[in-house]
Amino acid sequence: MGESGSAVVVRGPVPAPRRGGGWLTRDRVLGPLLLAPAVLYVFLLVGIPLLLALYLSVSSATTGSPTLQFVGLTNFLRAVNSTIFRSALTNTLIFTFVSQALVIVLSTVLALALEQRFPGRGVVRFLILLPWAAPIALGAIGWKWMFDSLYSVVNWMLRAVHILSPTQFPQWLGVPSLAMAAIIIVHVWRMLPFSAVVILAGLTSIPQEILDAAAVDGAGYVQRLFHVILPMLSPIALIAILFGTVFTFTDMGVVYILTSGGPFNSTHVLASWAFQVGIIAGDLAQGAAVALFLLPVLLAGAVLMLKLAGAAETGV
């Protein structure tokens, strides 16, 4: 292998690969060949079902009679006219962006802290990783128990530190605003470890020389943080945000288990409402329309973010 240590590899003139029929053709064939299994897998198991879901959304299928009768955009129109759908749409956006904003800030702080050497760091890392390791179906049930309408330990603790008076017992899952806060808390709780690890990886890959150079130039800690570290973190942070956003956007587990979309359907997100309408209530076509409603918007948004990530990557 090359040299060890922290030497920066100097990119000199790259020796040209051997030309001639052998190499070039191999690469041109090899590229798609190596890519093929992944693409095939995704195409068969996601692409085709997606096309089917698209067709469902313009049909009148139910779970009880999956016959595909074309009805045009009726399902989409019906969705737009539904108050619950509109609130689900807003909720999805709020939950995703608020929780992701919190996650990125908090995980950066956490990563900065975890980088330090301190006694018990191994144990701390283990404890921090627990939420990411817990199956969400079980972790969410745990939070449900913590927010329980009668036995909530969260309320008990808040009372114990006198943030709540002895007569107050907020219904975390029964009041729309608190329920939304609860859902955001659980999303943040769950995504924080992963984001922190990703950012930690980014932190550790910042070359020491650059930091030393900045320190020598007289930059204080805060200046180093904002002018050197955070910019250099941005490509990897962008990846973390991108993934976190998409993941939260399409997640129904937390909402479904914590509040079932309640109180009175006010905390549904698109994914959970799609499940409720499409599967539980049986209107498959309507559920498909709800789930796919934002696809064009998401597509555009994701393409944009990916272009940004690519630009940031090459810019560093």
Binding site: S60, T63, L150, Y151, G262, P263, I280, D283
Partner: protein
């Protein structure tokens, strides 16, 4: 034995082979290796026996599952030379799994639903050929018939063998203190005000949950209104509904705690068992849990019928309506077997009645004659232990004061969809929390319900 002598060894049921010692040892090693992988390999394809697969919910009474899985189905299987496999699923996931089986065109032979599976009608086998003889023989209570029969298509899309009533549980000690019985909704409001001041509010959920769906419908019906009429037209927007909504708003503000908006199916259980509420509607799971977990507190909690309303005598929804369906797309041989199991189960259903500890009531009247039901209720061991032999007496008339979802009409896909999107509890909640006026809340509910009915009518199932 030495290397060469051969011995007879039984290799499977009633089949023998002559093997040498070496063969025996290698077979043993291979067998051990295979056995470790066994759980992950499907041997079904090599088996010769017939198979029947049943999907049931995880019963509230664990002993029932043990009885059904390990005793009844095993005995039936032995008698008919069939391997019976029973899988379990949590009740909330029943629709999801059913949808998957329909999409997959493959699934369990017998599928147990706990609410009328009207929306699956196009995919379920018509069970008229077994239902009608059974009904002729035993008679079927009306609310069960309306939960598995479609009068428009004249099809039994499923067969109900049992259901669970939804009586009220109340704190007799507290109610005696305020001097009322929970016999009418009016009483519940009047006494509820006093009880709330005593720290024991009424506990009727107004949330996205099955209990709330049932309880709110009880109020709707006894106030003289309903979602649909007998002709299955949407009739919810009328002054009786508005009156019911106003009543619930008053009940919520004056006699209940706001937490009822957050309740799931287990919340009222725990609230009553924890001594926090004075009245709720629920199947007897509360009483049974208390008898088991808190025998000193249990006598304070008594059972009563659902309340009377201003316009109609007491009416409670069924809490659970067990309906078995058979998928149409299964091979005919398996459908035949499934039907046979159902018929035999119906004829033996009395055993299930006792195994369920009185949680399940017979849909087919004759399977457990009313006198036997009455006797079981009045001689219940737990009730006697508490010195209250009449604890469950009110359930004797349960078929009289219970009805199906969709009252006064039949259960159908539209009603199920309204049920599964929690429109009724939401209507009440919107008004109770002053997010809408009662009139607007009712109008909103109508605007949500009407398109659903139109959809189902267009499918020809209504």
């Amino acid at each position: 034995m030495d290397e060469r002598t051969r011995e007879w060894v039984e290799v499977s049921d009633r089949r023998w082979r002559l093997v040498t010692r070496r063969q025996l040892l290698t077979a043993g090693a291979a067998g051990a290796a295979a056995a470790s992988l066994l759980p992950y390999v499907n041997l079904r394809a090599w088996a010769q026996t017939r198979r029947l697969t049943i999907l049931q919910w995880s019963h509230f009474i664990p002993a029932y599952d043990k009885w059904f899985d390990n005793e009844y189905t095993k005995q039936w299987g032995k008698q008919h030379d069939v391997e019976v496999v029973v899988d379990h699923i949590t009740f909330a996931q029943i629709p999801a799994r059913a949808a998957a089986e329909v999409a997959a065109r493959s699934g369990h032979d017998l599928y147990q639903h706990i609410s009328p599976p009207a929306n699956f009608e196009p995919e379920t086998e018509d069970l008229t050929d077994i239902a009608e003889p059974l009904i002729k023989k035993y008679g079927m209570i009306e609310l069960s018939r309306r939960s598995c029969y479609n009068p428009k298509t004249k099809k039994f899309y499923g067969l109900s063998l049992s259901w669970t009533p939804d009586p009220a549980h109340y704190r007799k000690d507290a109610w005696d203190e305020v001097g009322y019985t929970p016999d009418s909704w009016d009483n519940i409001l009047v006494a509820g005000r006093k009880l709330k001041k005593m720290g024991l509010p009424i506990g009727e959920g107004i949330s996205n949950d099955i209990d709330s769906n049932m309880g709110m419908r009880d109020i709707l019906w006894t106030f003289g209104s309903s979602e649909q009429n007998e002709a299955h037209e949407v009739v919810i927007n009328n002054k009786n509904t508005v009156e019911a909504v106003k009543y619930v708003r008053a009940l919520f503000k004056e006699a209940m705690d706001p937490e009822v908006l957050a309740w799931d199916a287990s919340s009222n259980n725990r609230a009553m068992e924890g001594g926090k509420i004075s009245w709720t509607l629920n199947a007897i799971s509360i009483a049974r849990s208390l008898e088991r977990n808190n025998p000193s507190f249990s006598p304070k909690v008594q059972v009563w019928a659902p309340p009377r309303g201003p316009r109609r005598a007491r009416l409670g929804s069924e809490h659970v309506m067990y309906v078995y369906t058979i998928w149409k797309f299964l091979p005919p041989e398996r459908k035949r077997l499934a039907k046979q199991f159902l018929v035999d189960f119906a004829n033996n259903w009395e055993k299930a009645f006792y195994a369920s500890e009185l949680y399940e009531f017979p849909s087919l009247i004759g399977t457990v004659p009313p006198e036997k039901v009455k006797q079981a209720l009045l001689t219940d061991a737990a009730a006697h232990r508490e010195g209250n032999p009449h604890k469950y007496a009110v359930l004797v008339d349960a078929p009289k004061w219970s009805t199906n979802v969709g009252h006064p009409g039949f259960a159908n896909g539209a009603v199920s969809e309204v049920f599964d999107t929690f429109i009724i509890p939401q209507m009440f909640a919107l008004a109770a929390t002053d997010k809408m006026s009662p009139e607007d809340a009712v109008k909103w509910a109508e605007s949500q319900i009407k398109p659903i009915f139109a959809k189902w009518r267009a499918r020809g199932l209504l």
